[in-house]
């Protein structure tokens, strides 16, 4: 059986949304199908012995996992995925900082940033289309600003604006502001998507812990990541139950029903917290969530950081 498949990188070569991607030879293949937000991934391990196949082995070989769409690439494998969470967090946040700090007038720098982000997508094997889809979250805000700025009554200003790159005079600061917000928010959210698509959140939390984030906050992150889907599933069941009973009525009635759902979810959550606490006590919990620290900063991280920051700082400080 494939050594790589039993451990960390057991979904190497995953092609989410695709069908039956061949994977390290004939013995193993995987395929995905989507139900709403959840991608079901089947990994099949077929023992190589062609006949006399033990049915139990096939059952064992059929490993069915669910991956939520936002992290469908986080558990894949690539050069970027293999970097330490801290390396990626620091590098990508630095990239976002650089994007935000660069004046919008230096258009060519944004072109280079976009190029850099695109190459990171390609190296990490995360389809850029996925990032583009995820980046749509900024649309409402951009639209809000855009409407306000572009349709704002034109205000004459004492000075004309000289955009260094085109040498044209534009009398409308709103458009400038709009582009500033659009380009920066868009590149930043593409970078953020790259971070959560190449770093499983548990590793990210561990990275934050090693970077001295207060323990109480990393513990909250950890519980939140673990239980957000458990409770989201509960609230979805409640919504289905409500809708099944021909939910209608006026607006206030609607809000009252939501209030009761929130109340009942709170009590369920509170009781779950009590059971979780009991389970923690049963395994010797004494106030902290003890996990093994597995810092894995390697030469690879050093080389990546050196190259990454060399390029980033060159772009950032070029011409200053």
């Amino acid at each position: 059986m494939c050594q790589k498949c039993t451990l960390e990188s057991d979904i190497t070569g995953a092609t989410p949304g695709g069908n039956h991607a061949p994977h390290h030879g004939d013995g193993i293949h995987l395929h995905d199908h989507k139900h709403g937000d959840v991608v079901h991934r089947h990994v099949h391990y077929h023992p190589s012995a062609p006949d006399g196949r033990d049915p139990g082995d096939i059952e064992k070989g059929h490993q069915h996992t669910h991956t939520y769409s936002f992290e469908v690439y986080a558990y894949a494998d690539s050069l970027i995925h293999r970097l330490d969470a801290r390396t990626k967090t620091i590098a990508f946040i630095a990239l976002i900082l650089a994007v935000v700090l660069t004046p919008i007038t230096e258009v060519w720098k944004f072109g280079l940033y976009a190029l850099g982000i695109a190459s990171l997508y390609i190296i990490s094997g995360v389809p850029p289309l996925f990032g583009l889809k995820r980046s749509l979250v900024v649309v409402p805000f951009v639209a809000f600003a855009g409407v306000l700025l572009i349709f704002m009554p034109d205000k004459p200003h004492p000075a004309a604006y000289n955009f260094g790159f085109t040498h044209t005079t534009i009398a409308h600061g709103g458009i400038y502001m709009f582009f500033n917000a659009l380009v920066k928010s868009w590149l930043s959210v593409l970078t953020a998507a790259l971070l959560y698509s190449t770093t499983p959140f548990p590793k990210f939390i561990k990275g934050l812990e090693l970077l001295r984030m207060p323990k109480v906050i990393t513990m909250l992150f950890s519980f939140l990541y673990r239980f957000m889907w458990v409770l989201t599933d509960e609230i979805k069941r409640m919504i289905r139950a409500r809708d099944a009973r021909a939910f209608g009525g006026g607006r206030v009635w609607h809000l009252q029903v939501i209030g009761q759902m929130v109340g009942s979810l709170f009590i369920r959550s509170f009781e779950r917290a009590e059971r979780v606490y009991a389970a923690m006590l049963a395994r010797g919990y004494g106030g902290t969530l003890n996990t093994l620290d597995t810092p894995s900063v390697t030469l690879r991280d050093g080389l990546f950081s050196a190259l990454f920051f060399a390029i980033l700082l060159t772009i950032l400080f070029w011409g200053i």
Binding site: L7, T65, Y75, A278, A282
Partner: protein, 246 residues
């Protein structure tokens, strides 16, 4: 010291006055697999909560030879592997590895030992492939097996399982059953699934209104129709089928 669990006249009354346990006498010897049966509200969960120091009743109780006083709590929690009904309560960390390692780390084991224990326990429940997954990636049956691994990694002297088969589909239930059969641990299993008790446990105890009303070999208790009827239970299909065959 052959008894892993020994209770004498154990009583427990909730703060609101409900007498949940009214004098339990029970001895479980090493290697036994005991089913704890009884209708809802019989006191099964209250009884189980005594084994990790969450509740403490009156009377005598020895767990792995230890009295459940404060100084012994951590040793008892080390000796008892308590598997909760809902694996979403039992798995509270972000990765399977961290969850299975939590107990051994709290036992103060060295890092290499912890990693060995985690891999060993996941191997036993056949979930080693999921070591870096998060619980929300896994099916209910898979989570249930990992919940078992989280206590196996602590090398407990006794396993206490609360409704291990609830919500499992038949295939997942069969897998869990054969997994439990393959373990040599002393086990106390609270369950409503009498077929499961019939196949897995050699001894059965019926709890009713906070008292033990029957205690004996499963193959005798689960064919005693009058006794089962009285306690809101019914003869398992497996027992009936075997009766027909015989």
């Amino acid at each position: 010291m052959n008894e892993v669990i020994k209770a004498r006249a154990l009583t427990y009354t909730y703060p609101d006055g409900t007498a949940a346990l009214q004098g339990i006498d029970l001895e479980i010897r090493r290697g036994e697999r005991v089913a704890l049966l009884g209708p809802n509200g019989a006191g099964k969960s209250t009884f189980l909560m005594h084994f990790n120091g969450t509740l403490r009743g009156e009377g005598e109780l020895r767990i792995a030879g230890l009295e459940p006083i404060k100084a012994n709590i951590q040793a008892i929690r080390s000796a008892v592997g308590l598997v909760f009904q809902d694996p979403d309560d039992q798995l509270f960390l972000t990765t399977v590895f961290d969850d299975v390692a939590f107990g051994p780390i709290n036992q103060g084991l060295h890092q290499d030992e912890v990693i060995g224990r985690v891999k060993g326990a996941l191997e036993v429940v056949d979930m080693l492939w999921a070591i870096h997954k998060s619980a929300h990636h896994l099916s209910f049956g898979q989570k249930k097996r990992i919940a078992l691994a989280t206590v196996l990694s602590m090398n407990p002297k006794v396993l206490i399982l609360d409704e291990p088969t609830s919500n499992l589909d038949p295939r997942a239930r069969r897998r869990l059953e054969s997994l439990l059969m393959s373990l040599e641990h002393t086990m106390l299993v609270a369950t409503h699934n009498l077929d499961f008790a019939w196949r897995v446990c050699d001894r059965s105890v019926i709890l009713s209104n906070g008292r033990i009303v029957a205690d004996g070999p499963t193959r005798e208790i689960l064919v005693n129709e009058g006794l089962l009827e009285e306690n809101g239970l019914e003869m398992p299909l497996s027992a009936m089928l075997e009766g027909i065959k015989a």
